[in-house]
Symmetry: C2
Subunit: 327 residues, 2 copies
């Protein structure tokens, strides 16, 4: 059932049916005739043919490192809701934390005009990324990372952790840090720098052994906390780059016989739902993940409508939540 068939049955030309479907001069008489036939047959225009003809897919590719994460899923939620408002749909590409897949998906999505735009919820940026991104033929927005020279929406990771650390240090003197690998600029570099600068401000030198790496999971946070206690037994504050890792740290403290927050304070980042639930409730920073997703979608839609405008960057606000894991 295609437009030709409809035209034939309604006794008009295919052009008239097309005009009826879109907007154009069609007499009332033919209008009703066509309308009846379409009703009867349940005809729907082929979106593939429309895409070919119009050069628009109304699809946006969204590349994510992993879906099974509070922050990512909330950002995707924001993106999909805003895009849906404007009749766009999301093509989801999950890299499963595989950096090379990120590049591969950028290529695939860029190929053959599959999508009208791309949102990259990235973690790592290197020359390979830069190279592929330069070749993109569709509007492009980076979400959750600050990537110079490209449109992006990012969190104020540095100030968020600096403020939180300052708060923690008002009642402590021996801080430690659990972070992530530095290839992730936002979480790995900026948050750590916020911690270090807050320490420096009050004249505290942080030993290298007090700076441990973990990998986003609570298990890895658990083991990082173990290492910290091993090297810095009198630690009184552990600042963690994510809530999940903080959960692991709290768990280890408890097993080790340290009380939180009396003996050791613990903080996270992200204000995940669980941060309110656990005992003690985790002090953390609220980051507007869903709103970031919405903003990214808005920015992309704007680029699609006005391709010649210069891309801008937006740093999102944050809010420090003091809860029971701080004295």
């Amino acid at each position: 059932m295609n437009i030709n068939e409809i035209a034939k049955r309604a006794g008009v030309s295919r052009a008239t049916v097309s005009r009826y479907l879109n907007d154009g001069y069609v007499s009332q008489e033919k209008r009703t005739r066509i309308s009846r036939i379409i009703e009867e047959t349940g005809y729907v225009p082929s979106s593939q043919a429309q895409q070919l003809r119009n050069g628009k897919t109304h699809l946006v590719g969204v590349i994510i490192p992993k879906i099974n994460s509070q922050s990512v899923s909330r950002m995707v939620e924001g993106v999909t809701s805003k895009l849906a408002e404007h009749g766009y749909q999301v093509l989801l590409a999950n890299t499963e934390n595989d950096e090379s897949k990120e590049i591969e998906y950028l290529r695939i999505l860029n190929q053959g005009d599959r999508v009208d735009g791309i949102i990259l919820l990235g973690t790592v940026f290197n020359e390979a990324h830069e190279k592929v991104i330069r070749r993109l033929r569709v509007p492009f927005v980076v979400l959750d990372q600050h990537f110079e020279g490209h449109a992006c929406i990012y969190q104020d990771d540095y100030h968020a952790v600096r403020d939180l650390t300052q708060l923690a240090l008002s009642t402590a003197r021996k801080p430690a840090y659990i972070g992530v690998f530095e290839e992730d600029r936002a979480v790995g570099v900026m948050r750590r720098q916020g911690f270090l600068d807050a320490c420096a401000q009050v004249g505290i030198d942080v030993l290298p052994e007090a700076m441990q790496f973990a990998s986003f999971t609570s298990d890895s946070g658990y083991f990082a906390a173990e290492k910290i206690l091993e090297h810095v037994p009198d630690v009184d504050t552990i600042v963690c780059a994510t809530d999940e890792m903080a959960f692991g740290a709290i768990m280890y403290m408890r097993e080790y016989g340290k009380r939180v927050p009396e003996d050791v304070q613990v903080t996270g980042v992200g204000d995940s739902p669980m941060s309110r639930i656990i005992i003690p409730a985790l002090s953390t920073v609220h980051l507007p993940f869903k709103t970031s997703g919405i903003k990214a979608a808005e920015m992309l839609l704007r680029q699609i409508s006005f391709p010649n405008e210069n891309p801008v960057s937006i740093c999102m606000p944050y809010e420090v939540y003091q809860r029971n894991s701080l004295r």
Copy 2:
């Protein structure tokens, strides 16, 4: 840059270029000529034209109630990974728990051959669903619900909760239940029935006041627990239909001065990452969400390849995890 341009520059016909790209007789000489031109120009065939011509989009629509949930995101993860293996991509439709959007998205995805298949990660099923689904022109799989007459992958909700309840009742006599609305057959009806049957088996009558409703969140679990204690002060076990709600129940117990598990046992369903982390560790049932997603994708791919085969249903296995929230 299209296939005609490539053909012209390589001095061959467009048919030969197409044969080069796909598979067909092309002499070694022209092969290298075409290859060089494609390399130079960075040409990639238009997927829109291919879709129109071949009648295949290599896209699968996945409709979900909400993305920001452990179980859903893990199932989506499974689906995307398996589909990616076979060169398919996912068109994500998030209904944000809005039942009418579920119908709307089924319609949209069915229209104009946008996708090669649909996976519905549904919650509710009514006549409206049945009607739209009957009209679907593409292969279709229901995930996480048992929907008679359609291909589906579902959890063994009934036996999972029955087994867990039996375990809990080996050391208790006064059980209560926190469930969800019955429109959700899997979580609302089957899990509750598993609980009730386990109680009946050991001759325990459950009072209506001991059966409370909540809405998947820990907050709602908290308030449901409050109501239970109000009506059944000597309750010694609270079986919850989800982990999240169990977290809320534990939180209320703690604030109320009840010890878990000494005074009141609490169980959940889902084995969410946090269920291991909280104190006491939550006894729960592991459900293979990611594997379910993979199976659903496999089933859909099979239907796409063999449209005439009869759809089947698969009930997934489960595993009861006894942790510290049970005596």
